[in-house]
């Protein structure tokens, strides 16, 4: 910032200088929003009989975060196979996830990559957070006959900076 006050100190220059500092601080604060994921996979083969322990991950966030997306994808062995990604509270408690659709399914159109994805970044629909200290479970499943290969599922979470 150049030295604005040599000679006459003007109100306009003062106003500009003060506005600059507050605007810059606000803009820098927006840079604090960062995204990260919990992910499962790649799972080499996923069928309807794959045990939950092999197709899910349970985790306990150490900070609150806003859920951005749930996503899962895999390569189906044929058409009409259904892959589903889901988020639940690990002990079955619905308190923390009441009334929010937490699953997304997709049906394969053939022996091809199939992607199930639900976007919670909305200005008019449901938004929700995962909370510090609550144990969640992210799972992926094949809900039909047949199988998916090379399966990956993820939950993306957006965090803001916080105080210690």
């Amino acid at each position: 910032m150049v030295a604005p006050f040599t000679g006459t100190v003007t109100i306009g220059a003062l106003r500009t200088a003060f506005d600059d500092s507050t605007t810059t601080l606000q803009q820098a604060a927006q840079l604090g929003k960062k995204d990260y994921e919990y992910a499962i996979g790649p799972i080499s083969t996923l069928t309807s009989s794959t045990d939950l322990s092999l197709r899910s991950i349970a985790f306990t966030p150490f900070d609150d975060g806003q859920v951005q997306v749930l996503a899962a994808h895999g390569t189906a062995d044929a058409g009409s196979r259904i892959i589903t990604v889901s988020l639940t509270v690990d002990n079955g408690d619905t308190t923390w996830l009441v009334d929010i659709a937490r699953t997304k399914s997709a049906t394969s159109s053939g022996a091809s990559n199939t992607d199930a994805r639900i976007d919670y970044r909305t200005t008019s629909g449901n938004v929700f957070r995962v909370l510090r200290g609550v144990r969640y479970r992210l799972a992926v499943s094949c809900d039909t006959a047949g199988s998916f290969s090379n399966v990956v599922a993820a939950i993306q979470i957006r965090s803001n900076r916080r105080r210690a």
């Binding site: 910032m1 030295a3 604005p4 006050f5 040599t6 000679g7 006459t8 100190v9 109100i11 306009g12 003062l14 106003r15 200088a17 003060f18 600059d20 500092s21 507050t22 810059t24 601080l25 606000q26 820098a28 604060a29 840079l31 604090g32 929003k33 960062k34 995204d35 990260y36 994921e37 919990y38 992910a39 790649p42 045990d51 939950l52 322990s53 092999l54 991950i57 349970a58 985790f59 306990t60 966030p61 150490f62 900070d63 951005q68 997306v69 996503a71 994808h73 992607d115 994805r117 976007d119 970044r121 990956v152 993820a154 993306q156 957006r158 965090s159 803001n160 900076r161 105080r163 210690a164």
Partner: protein, 316 residues
Amino acid sequence: MSVPYVPRAMYDGGNHDVEAINQNLRAIQRNIKRAMDLRYSTTPAVFPLTGLSSAAAASQRTLRITLPTSRQWQVVGAELVVCATAGATWSVSAGGTLWTGLSVATAGATTEAYDISEETIDPSAGVFTFTFSADVASTITSGYFVIHVCCDRGLQGSADFTGYSPTLLSSASSTDGSVLDTEMAAISAAVAQHQAATTDLRMQIFAVRDLASGGSTSMSLPSGSRTGTGATALQGAVVGPLGSTVSFSVSSTSFATVSKAVNGLGAAVLAQGSAAFSEVDANAPATAASDLTLTISRGADGGAVAPLSYMIVWWS
């Protein structure tokens, strides 16, 4: 954070009110401090343990994390989940630290045994070394280790924050102009430090066991608000047979590839690659075509499987 503001408006045609200006200088001091107080971010990383045998060499039962140069963060929590035939106790320790560690008593091949720690672990000479072991012969049918890390963006080496403390104006002074110049310069410098200290430090781990000659595996993650650090973007580790070369890459607008010839089974050969990456279409997690892809691949050297390969991607 609360919206930064100054309490006294400066209107054209008004008089210079020394106390009004001083109130604004004090408010700016508070704004800057509040902004920098929001300096911590906490994120996880997951290391898979599926298929790990207690009889495996120590190098195959170890996760080694080397912090990028001049960067700092702490592990503030960890979780261990193991499914294995009942009768064994699996543990994880952190070498060179005072961490208590985690232990779980196995309860069945598909039954999760779980433990969690909220102890803070500082690195030993910039390195975290986690070692997994069992008290009796055991093989993990399904399992993973989650570490939760906390980063202080004010301690990332480039712009350690010092804040702003105003020299207030005095109505008896005849040098208000030069005092204001000095204060505006100090404010500008403090705000610039705050801007420069926007870099925190986060990581993603991607691992594969028993990677065959000529094999490759990849994981695609939704595009997000994320950029490579530009300093050290990749760390790769391999435990594999003589002559094998494993490559690690992040596919996006630019590649970062680290290759290391492995000189025989033994301690993990660590390689660190330096490259910046940014996502094809950052902040587009609903678009599969924008996904960030992590790939581990091995040359067709004809050797036996590489028991463990993992990459750590650093980003901010």
